[in-house]
C-alpha cells in the first residue's frame, strides 16, 4: 500500500446515513478507497448501491438537512476534506475536484446562456477578467466539439449529447485534478455515448487528471478505467486492477454481474440474473449483506462480516467463502 503522503485520494471507512420519513437509510457503510494521480477508477454497482453518495461525499455536496456523514475520513492531496471549512471547500469545488452529473437535461440552468455557465466556473476560480473568462469558455466549447459561436445560446437549443458535452466543458474548464463522473453517458444513446466517452478519455489524459467514473455498465468500465471497485449495499465488495478483476472476478456478486452480460458469440435463450433483490438500506442484515442472495452462503456468513481477502495483484475481495472456494478451484 502506498504511503498516505503520496496518495492522491484516499477514502477511509466512510459511513454516510440519510434520514427519510423518520427512518435511517444506511447508504454508505465503511467504504475505503485509494486512487493515484492520473488514474481512472470505475465504481460499479446497481442503482441505489451508494456510488453517487460516495462521490457527493467527497465534494461535500450532500443535501444538508437529510444526510449526515457518520464516520470516516477523505484525504485529498494530504488534507482531510471532512475537516475543511465551507470557504476552503469552495476553493476546491469546481477547481480541484469537479463533478459531472448523470442527467444532462437537467444539469444545466435553463435560463442562463451556455457559455456563461462555463465562464461562471472560470471566473470563480481563476483571477481573470470577464473577457478572459469568456475566451476560456469559448476554448472549452471548441475542445468538446461545439462551435464557439454557440456561446450565447441556451440549453434548450442543444441536443442531449451536446448538452452533456457542455457539462463536460464546464467541469473541465478549470483543469481539475480529480474528476467525478456520475454515469455521464447513461442518459445518452449508444452512438453518442462512444463519442462522449472518447472525448472524456482524451481530455483526462491530456490534463493528466484523475477520474472516478460511476457506472453500472461494465462495458464502459472496460473502455475507460484502470481500476474497478464493485459497490454493493454501501460497501466495496471487490476492488482491483481492471484486468485482474475482469479476468478473475472473485466475489459472487461480481461474478453474477459478469454472468449477466450477454456475449456476442454465445447463443443464450435467457439472461442470467442474480436471484433476489438488494437489501433494504434501512434494515441491513447482520453479517454479509449479500448473504441472502449468495449461492455460496452458509451460517458463518449470516453472523460474521467478511474481511477483505487478497486475491491478486492490487485485487481484494470481501467474501468469507473465498479461501474455501480458492481451495476448491
Amino acid at each position: 500500500m502506498n504511503e498516505r503522503g503520496r496518495d492522491f485520494l484516499e477514502i477511509k471507512d466512510l459511513t454516510v446515513e440519510y434520514t427519510s420519513e423518520g427512518q435511517v437509510v444506511h447508504a454508505v457503510n465503511g467504504v475505503s478507497l485509494k486512487l493515484d494521480k492520473g488514474q481512472t477508477l470505475g465504481l460499479v454497482g446497481e442503482t441505489g448501491a451508494g456510488k453517487t453518495t460516495i462521490a457527493k461525499s467527497i465534494m461535500r455536496i450532500l443535501p444538508p438537512h437529510s444526510s449526515a456523514v457518520k464516520g470516516g475520513e477523505i484525504y485529498f492531496e494530504g488534507r482531510n476534506l471532512q475537516e475543511l471549512s465551507e470557504l476552503e471547500m469552495h476553493e476546491i469545488r469546481g477547481k480541484k475536484i469537479s463533478m459531472i452529473f448523470q442527467d444532462p437535461m437537467t444539469a444545466l440552468n435553463p435560463v442562463m446562456r451556455v457559455g456563461e455557465q462555463i465562464a461562471e466556473g472560470v471566473a470563480l476560480h481563476e483571477k481573470v477578467s470577464k473577457k478572459e473568462a469568456q475566451e476560456r469558455a469559448e476554448q472549452m466549447l471548441e475542445m468538446v466539439g461545439i462551435p464557439k459561436n454557440r456561446y450565447k445560446e441556451y440549453p434548450h437549443q442543444f441536443s442531449g449529447g451536446m448538452k452533456q458535452r457542455v457539462v463536460i466543458a464546464m467541469t473541465l474548464a478549470c483543469n481539475p485534478r480529480l474528476l467525478l463522473a456520475d454515469e455521464p453517458t447513461t442518459a445518452l444513446d449508444v452512438t453518442i455515448q462512444a463519442q462522449v466517452l472518447e472525448m472524456m478519455r482524451n481530455l483526462v489524459k491530456k490534463k493528466d487528471a484523475s477520474m472516478i467514473l460511476i457506472t453500472h455498465d461494465l462495458g464502459v468500465v472496460a473502455e475507460m478505467c484502470d481500476y474497478v471497485a464493485v459497490v454493493y449495499a454501501g460497501e466495496i465488495v471487490e476492488h482491483g486492477d481492471l484486468f485482474s478483476v475482469f479476468d478473475h472476478p472473485s466475489h459472487p456478486y461480481t461474478k453474477g454481474l459478469f454472468g449477466a452480460i450477454p456475449k456476442l458469440n454465445e447463443d443464450k435463450g435467457r439472461l442470467h440474473s442474480i436471484e433476489g433483490l438488494p437489501p433494504d438500506p434501512t434494515n441491513l442484515p447482520q453479517g454479509c449483506y449479500f448473504c441472502p442472495r449468495c449461492p455460496l452462503a452458509d451460517e458463518s456468513c449470516v453472523s460474521k462480516k467478511p474481511e477483505p481477502v487478497v486475491v491478486g495483484r492490487s485485487h481484494y475481495c470481501r467474501c468469507g467463502k473465498l479461501k474455501k472456494w480458492e481451495a476448491n478451484k
Binding site: I61, H65, N109, P110, E120, Y154
Partner: protein, 322 residues
Amino acid sequence: MYKYILKRLLWMIPIILAVTIVIFTIMYFVPGDIAKIILGTNASDEAYAALRERLGLNDPYFIRLLNYLKDVFLHFNFGESVVDGTSVTSALISRFPATLILAFTSILMSIAFGIPLGIVAAQHNGKWQDTTSMFIALLGISMPGFWLGLMLVLLFSLHLHWLPSTGIGTWQHWILPVITNGFGGIAATARMARSSVLEVIEADYVTTARAKGVSERNILTRHILPNSMIPVVTSLGGSFGMQMAGTIVIENLFSIPGIGQYTVNAIGSRDYYAVQGSVIMLAIVFSVVMLLVDIIYAYIDPRIKAQFEGQSKKRRVKSGVK
C-alpha cells in the same frame, strides 16, 4: 418578439369588444328601476315614466347597443352618469391613479417582502425560519382587510396620533391603506415563492452549480431565483389585475376616491354607463397587465421567449419554401 407583442395588442381589440357587449347585455337585463333610485320613492308614476324616456331606457336592445358601441369605440366616450350627468370618462380617469397606487404598492410590497420571506422559508425548510414565515403568511391571508385596517387606524391614528385616519393628500395618508392592502398580498406571495423555490432547490443544476463552487449567494440570485420566479410572476400579474378591481374595501374604509368605490356605488344605483365604463376599463387594464406579465416571462425564461418568437419564425420558414 415585437411581432408577438403586436399580435397580442391586436388581439386585445376583439376581446375588449366582446367584454363590452357582454357587460352591456348584463346591465340591460339586470332588474332594478333606476328612475325610482334617482327620484326617490315619493314621485308620481308620470315622473318616473318621463325620466325613463329621457334617459333613453325605452329604446330596443340593439339600437342601444349599437349607439353605445359607436360612442365607446369611435368617439372614446363612455357616456354620462345616469345619476348625476358627470362624464364617466373623466370620472374614471380622475379615480384611476388612486386605485393604481394601491394596486401597484401592493405588488411592490409583495415583491419586496413576500418573495424574500418565501425564499428564507424554503432555504431553511423545516426549521424555525420556515415555521415563522409561514405563520406570518397564514396571518396575512386570514386577516380580513377591513379589520386589519381598522385596527391599524385605532392604533396609529387614534392612540398614537402618528398618522391620519382617512383621505388622501399627503404621503402620510397613504401609509395605512397601503399596508392594509399589501399585507394579504405579501402572505400569498410568500407561500407561492416558498413552494416554487423548494422545487428548484432540489434541481440538478443547482447541485451542479454548487459542485462548481459557486457561492450560496450567487446560487440564489443566478440559479434559483430566475427559475423559481415564473409562477410568482404569474400570480403577481393576476393579482394586480384583481387589485385594480377589488380594492373597494380599502377604498371605502379610508375614503380613497378610487375606481373600486366608484364601480360599486354605480352598481348599487344601476348607473349603467358608469358600470359599463368601469368594466371595460378594467378589461383593458387586465389585458395590458397580462401582456406585460408575458413579456416579463420572456425576459426571465428564454425558452418562453423562443416559444413566442418561434410562432413567427415558423411562418417565415414556411413562406420561404416554395
